[in-house]
Amino acid sequence: MDIRNELKYSKDHEWVRIEDGIATVGISDFAQQALGDVVFVELPEIGTTLSTGQTFGVVESVKAVSDIYAPVAGEVVSINEELPDTPDQINSSPYEDGWLVKIKLADSPADGELMDAEAYRACIAEQ
C-alpha cells in the first residue's frame, strides 16, 4: 500500500496536495486497489464551485460505480483531460498521472478536516 507522507487524505479516500492555494485531488492507492480496473471517469466542468463533501464526479470500475467527493471547497480550475481516454492511469499511477482535478481553495481546510498520512494509515487499517 503506497501512502505518501507529503499528502493529506479524506475519509472518502481522496488524496490532496496543496501548493500555492491550489489543491490537486486524486484517489488513494487503497481506493484504486479496492475499485479494481478503472474503466470510466466522469469529471466536473472547469469553473464548477464545490463545497466540501460534495459529489463532483464518478469513477467506474468493471464491476462498480463510485462517487468521488470534494475533499476541499473551492473552484475547479483544471481537470485531467487524459483520464477519459486512459482511465487506467488511476490504477497505474494514482498519485501522479491519475490525478483528477485541481481546485482553487476558497479557504484553507479547517483543522481536522483532512488526515495526514499516519492518520490515514490508521483509518484504512480499520477497514
Partner: protein, 362 residues
Amino acid sequence: MLKTTPLNKIHRQLGARMVDFGGWDMPVQYSGVIAEHLAVRTAAGLFDVSHMGEIEVRGADALAYIQQLTTNDASKLSDGQVQYSAMCYKNGGVVDDLTLYRFAADHYLFCVNASNIEKDFAWMQEVLNNGEYTDVSLTNRSDSFAQLALQGPRADAILAKLTDTDLEAIEYYRFAEGEVAGAATIISRTGYTGEAGFELYFAPEQAETIWQALMEAGAPEGLLPIGLGARDTLRLEKKYALYGHELSSQITPLEGGIAWITKLDKPSFIGKEPLCQMKNAGVPRRLVGLRMTEPGVPREHYPVFIGDQEVGIVTSGTMSPSLRVGIALALISTGHHSIGTEVSIGIRNRQVAAEIVKTPFV
C-alpha cells in the same frame, strides 16, 4: 456463515479478493478483471465453479419426468450428451436455467445455479410428488461434486497433459468419464465464456490436487485463475443469460432470450400453456444487445429510452474488456427492439446514446 468451496484456502493463498456471492465466499478477482478476461479470450483461464449445484435423477420414468419439468426436448439426448435447458413455473416464469447431462436412459444429472440449489430441488420434488412417476428418484448431490471450468483457446492443450481421455473425441456439449491428474472426472465440453474448453466434475477431496495440476500444466500456456468478475464480463460479451438478471420468476424464457431452448411443440411441459398464449398474443418485450455510441458504462436497472419514451431496462451491463466500449443486455418493448435502433440509456442524470446491435457482441 458463508459457504465455502474446497478451494477456499487456495483462493486466499493466491490473494484473491473474496466476496459474498449468493451466500458463498467466492473469488471475484485475482490479478484483475480485465487481465483475467483477456487471458480467457487469448490463452486460458481456470474457474472454481464448485458452488454450482448438481441434482441427480434416476429411474425408468426419468425421461418422462424431465420432459414435464424442463422446456427443452430431453428426448433428443443420447448417452454422453449435454443439453442447455430451463425449468418454468406454471405461469411461465423461470425457476432456473441449467445444463442437463444424460449418462443413461435412466440416469441424468442437472447442473443448476448455486443460489438456486435449494429452491430448484424443492421445485423438482414438488413436481415429482404431483406427477404419476412410479420409478424416479431425486438426489441433491451438490456436496458430492467440486467443479472447475477450464476455458480458452489453450484449454485442450493444457488438459491433454493430464488425461488419457481422447479430448478430440468429445464434441461440443458432450462429455466423457475419465481421469484428470489421476482422479475420476466427468470431462464436459461445455462452458460459460464462449471459448473452447471444459467443465470438470470430480470429488471435492480431489479439488486441490486437480487445481494445482491444471495450474502447473497451464503455466507455460498462459493459464490464469479467473474470478467471478471476468466470468460475468465473458458471458455478457456472448449474450449468455444469467439467472436473476436476464431470467427470473418474473421473466419468461420467450422474453429472456432463451426461446431457442423452449420447445413449444413438445406435447407438454410445465409452463407451456401460458408461454403459448404469450407467443400467440405477441411477446411483450425482448432481450437485446446494446452498445454505447457515447462514452459511458451501462449498468443493471438503468432505463432505456427512445426520445423521451422509456422503452426498456438494462438487465446486465459493463465495459466490455474485449471491445473497450460499454455493452448491455436489456429487455425492450416489442416493436422498439430491432437491430440498428438508436436508443439512449439513463446513466445518472443524463441520457447517453446507444444502439441496438447484433449479438453476441464478440
